[in-house]
């Protein structure tokens, strides 16, 4: 008989070691995610009836329904986030394809680093960079005047399109990486086989490439959608007062109005919204969350 070293997972020492190993993750999960959310839930379900007197009520949620501005902002944020996610996907897919299937050797790594480089700068600075480019006295409007395309410098900030550009720019990397991973595992022979059997570019994309990359597309889209939906800085800076982003409403309730109860209710609504849309997206494309996260 040969002696094999086995680790007995039930032994007290091993259990202790495992416990210690998981402790930081557990502290992080419970202390920074679960506890604050429980507290937010409690907060959102009470309303102030007199100074320092609170009672259980759904008033905060009723306010959201009764006040059109709130749920308009809510729907607008959702729609814009979906559009931003779709735009990011449209731009990231060819990028990832080029990096994985066409670029070779050094070019490949250089291109991936190029995707990463903008993230060496803080989001604030990056967004301010866009403002320098796009504001009325900025680089791009002057260039347009100089080229004779517009007579006057045009204000390019504070449009919905500007917000979208900023959001897509911020999200690109988070879409390119899971897409590149998914496409990397696609055997080139499958594409050649489809081509050999008479497939054209469109049918190969639709029937072979997209089904294969679906988990990567889903993972990238989920990450980008959540980042976009919860983004505060980019819509505020690039969209100005008209941006009407739901995170701004939450910020206003917590910080400006000091109405934590209302802010907590909004926060919960945003959480529900992102969960619902992610679930819907997965259901529509016939995928399971576990598969997506495992393969991405």
């Amino acid at each position: 008989m040969t002696a094999t070293a086995t680790i007995d997972l039930a032994a007290p020492r091993t259990r202790l070691a495992l416990g210690l190993l998981f402790a930081p993750a557990l502290v992080w999960l419970v202390g920074l995610i679960v506890l604050p959310h429980v507290d937010l839930a409690v907060l959102s379900l009470r309303s102030r009836v007199a100074p320092r007197t609170y009672e259980f009520s759904f008033d905060n949620y009723r306010t959201f329904i009764d006040e059109p501005l709130y749920w308009h902002t809510f729907v607008r944020t959702a729609v814009m986030s979906i559009v931003a996610t779709a735009c990011t996907l449209l731009i990231a897919f060819p990028t990832a394809w080029y990096i994985v299937k066409i670029a070779r050797g050094r070019t490949k790594s250089v291109l991936l680093v190029l995707c990463l480089i903008p993230f060496w700068v803080s989001e604030t600075v990056r967004t301010l960079g866009w403002m320098i480019l796009l504001r009325e006295s900025g680089v791009l409007p002057h260039l347009l005047v100089g080229l004779g395309i517009t007579a006057q410098p045009v204000e390019m900030l504070y449009h919905d399109a500007t917000i979208l550009v900023g959001l897509v720019y911020t999200s690109l990397l988070f879409m390119v990486v899971p897409l590149a991973n998914a496409l990397e595992s696609l055997d080139d022979a499958l594409i050649e086989a489809a081509y050999d059997l008479g497939g054209d570019a469109w049918s190969i994309l639709r029937q072979i490439v997209i089904p294969h990359a679906a988990p990567g597309i889903a993972a990238g889209s989920i990450v980008v959608f959540m980042l976009t939906l919860g983004n505060y800085l980019t819509p505020t800076l690039l969209g100005g007062k008209n941006s009407l982003w739901f995170t701004e409403q939450i910020y206003a309730q917590f910080i400006t109005r000091f109405n934590w109860e209302q802010g907590a209710a909004f926060g919960f609504l945003l959480l529900l919204l992102s969960t619902a849309i992610v679930w819907l997206g997965l259901a529509l494309t016939g995928q399971r969350f576990g598969d997506v996260m495992r393969r991405a």
Partner: protein, 368 residues
């Protein structure tokens, strides 16, 4: 118009990668209904040649004609050629039926027609009713058949096969060899098969081209390649062979006397012109060498040698012994006769062995 005699003609095709000529001024013609194999070691350019025929690569010079038509500038999805890929490249995301029907659907065939043709084709390859199965539910051999069905359902002029048996285990490979040959005979489609496995090429093919360094060394029937190799490369690559290098000591038309570097003299039939003093190489097949316990058993015209058994390589019908010639230590591989006469042969025994000079072949070595 009469159908052209050749389904595939490759006319002086060259393809280079940088300074490396992967396919070097190569010509080839394959008759209709033939099973044609291209046999060569890895890196000899056979995959490049196949990809040139399929249309994934364009030749630098020369022309590929399929069914008499020039394929210049024609994309793979327009060529009357289909390919069975090395790892089959079945589409894992769709069912077996959809895999087989993929090409027909791309041609815009009606769904009812596709269903019917797919069902017929699956029946012909021995997988009736497998339409709804997923690819990962199939065994290796079944995948093989689906890959072939997927191509043949399009009724191509030519089916290209890129070492499709390489990924299978030995037992299944032997089985699939026979199945492939039967399928080809059954469908009558021209097959061009590339492989580095000489047994696959010999068993399956009507004609084999042995390829080396971008060129064909020899094209012929498996029997011709085996019994009349034209070049040292073919003699060494096709079948197993004992190789002896040395100089030609004497040449008398039908027989060359070769003196090996170790001092062994053997006689062999010359292939091509050989003059005394040339550097030469002789090849003797293991089954050509006769084995005897006593030298007296080996009568003329056999040239006989004495040797010692180094090891017995028992492999059923393919059993052999490794011998060392007594004086020079030259190694010989000798097939054991099926009679069982040498079943009790042991390492270390002294034996006599010999072979007919006419059944050994000698080549002049090209000056390096």
């Amino acid at each position: 118009m009469a159908a052209p005699e050749f389904d595939l003609e490759v006319d002086r095709v060259t393809k280079s990668y940088g300074t490396h000529r992967a396919v070097d001024d190569l010509s080839l013609a394959v008759r209709r209904g033939n099973f044609f194999s291209i046999l060569g070691p890895s890196g000899c350019g056979k995959t490049t040649l196949l990809r040139l025929i399929a249309g994934f690569l364009e030749p630098d010079a020369g022309e590929v004609r399929i069914g008499g038509q020039s394929m210049r500038g024609m994309l793979p999805n327009r060529r009357p050629v289909n390919m069975v890929f090395q790892h089959l490249a079945l589409f894992p995301m769709i069912s077996v039926g959809e895999n087989v029907g993929y090409g027909l659907a791309r041609r815009g065939a009606a769904p009812s027609l596709i269903r019917e043709r797919v069902a017929t084709m699956l029946k012909r390859v021995g997988l009736p009713g497998a339409e709804a199965k997923r690819i990962d539910q199939l065994s290796g051999g079944q995948k093989q058949r689906v890959a072939i069905a997927r191509s043949l359902v399009l009724e191509p002029t030519l089916l290209l096969l890129d070492e499709p048996l390489g990924a299978l285990d030995l037992k299944l490979r032997e089985h699939m060899k026979i199945e492939l040959k039967q399928l080809q005979a059954d469908f009558g489609t021209t097959f061009v098969y590339i492989t580095h496995d000489q047994s696959e090429a010999l068993v399956l093919s009507d004609h084999v081209a042995v390829m080396n360094a971008g060129r064909f060394e020899q094209v012929g029937t498996p029997q011709e390649l085996y019994y009349q190799p034209q070049t040292p490369f073919v003699a060494g690559f096709v079948g197993s062979n004992n190789r002896l290098a040395g100089t030609a000591a004497r040449v008398d038309g039908e027989v060359v006397d070769l003196d090996s570097a170790q001092g062994l003299r053997v006689r062999a039939r010359p292939s091509g012109a050989i003059a005394a003093g040339d550097a030469v190489e002789a090849f003797v097949r293991p089954e050509v060498v006769s084995l005897a316990r006593a030298a007296a058993e080996l009568v003329a015209p056999l040239q006989s040698f004495a040797g010692r058994v180094e090891s017995v390589l028992f492999d059923g019908a393919n059993s052999a012994v490794l011998l060392r010639e007594e004086h020079t230590d030259a190694e010989f591989r000798v097939a054991l006769p099926q009679t069982g006469r040498f079943a009790n042969l042991r390492a270390g025994e002294s034996v006599a062995f010999g072979f007919d000079a006419q059944r050994a072949v000698c080549f002049k070595l090209a000056r390096a």
